[in-house]
Symmetry: C2
Subunit: 154 residues, 2 copies
């Protein structure tokens, strides 16, 4: 479902992550790389507890602390982004290798619909210029009711 970019000339996420760590004077460790690999192994939104379960399921016993410590690194490196905060904890998705997209959230069934819309990026660019702001990213979240839930309401 999620549109992918042409990967032929792209660095792998592992390369990107290693370079990011090196440039920060941090070390590449099996734990960090296993977390990265698992994050990119599925294409859905996830939260940290889910990720830990998936790692456990692989037979990898990486501590909760390490996973929590690694998440901000993945975000800072631009490989992953925070999507939304719900049910008391943050939800993430990997974004490296995917075109930027925004989220429609149904308040009825909690379904998330992803969509791409170039106009958003253009508006963003203009706003940055107006405000003399160097934009590094944005989060657009639209909420409401999906078609099915609109019908249920009636």
């Amino acid at each position: 479902m999620r549109p992918s970019l042409n990967h032929s000339k792209m660095k792998s996420e592992l390369e990107v992550f290693r370079e990011f760590l090196e440039q920060k004077g941090m070390r590449s460790t099996p734990e960090r790389e296993a977390i990265l690999t698992e994050v990119f192994a599925h294409h859905d939104h996830f939260d940290v507890e889910e990720l830990i379960m998936r790692l456990r399921h692989q037979g990898l016993r990486i501590s909760r602390a390490s996973v929590y410590r690694t998440m901000p690194l993945l975000v800072e490196s631009g490989l992953v982004q925070e999507v939304f905060f719900e049910d008391g904890h943050m939800h993430y998705e990997h974004i490296y290798g995917h075109e930027h997209h925004c989220h429609l959230r149904c308040l009825g069934c909690r379904k998330i619909i992803e969509f791409r819309n170039g106009a958003v990026e253009e508006v963003e660019k203009r706003i940055g210029q107006d405000q003399q702001f160097e934009i590094t990213g944005h989060k657009l979240e639209i909420y409401g009711y999906c078609q099915a839930c609109q019908e249920k309401k009636d």
Copy 2:
């Protein structure tokens, strides 16, 4: 700074809140109304702890539980919105009587710049039509570096 609408023909926030509560079969209480009043007494973003301190400062001893219980009501009634989750807790602002605006967040100094841009709303409307979604609201948060922090980085 924040653009206000023409209030001449508008219901007061208190009226809106009372109607909202009645329509939900809930009661209007002095605690709920004091919380509402305090929320509308200042024009900055706030978090629940701050709000509780402000209420205490007024000599009002409303329990944390009541304040936490009231916040979702204010949000659901459309008087208040969640702005962003930061430092481990949610931040709010009152929106009733103000034009819709979005937020630029500086990752350097954490400053928040509010701005209004009609193009965002138009894009949103179009997206809703495309996806057959009934849109009730949206949150656009752009992050990056303000002019001062850009200079500091060099």
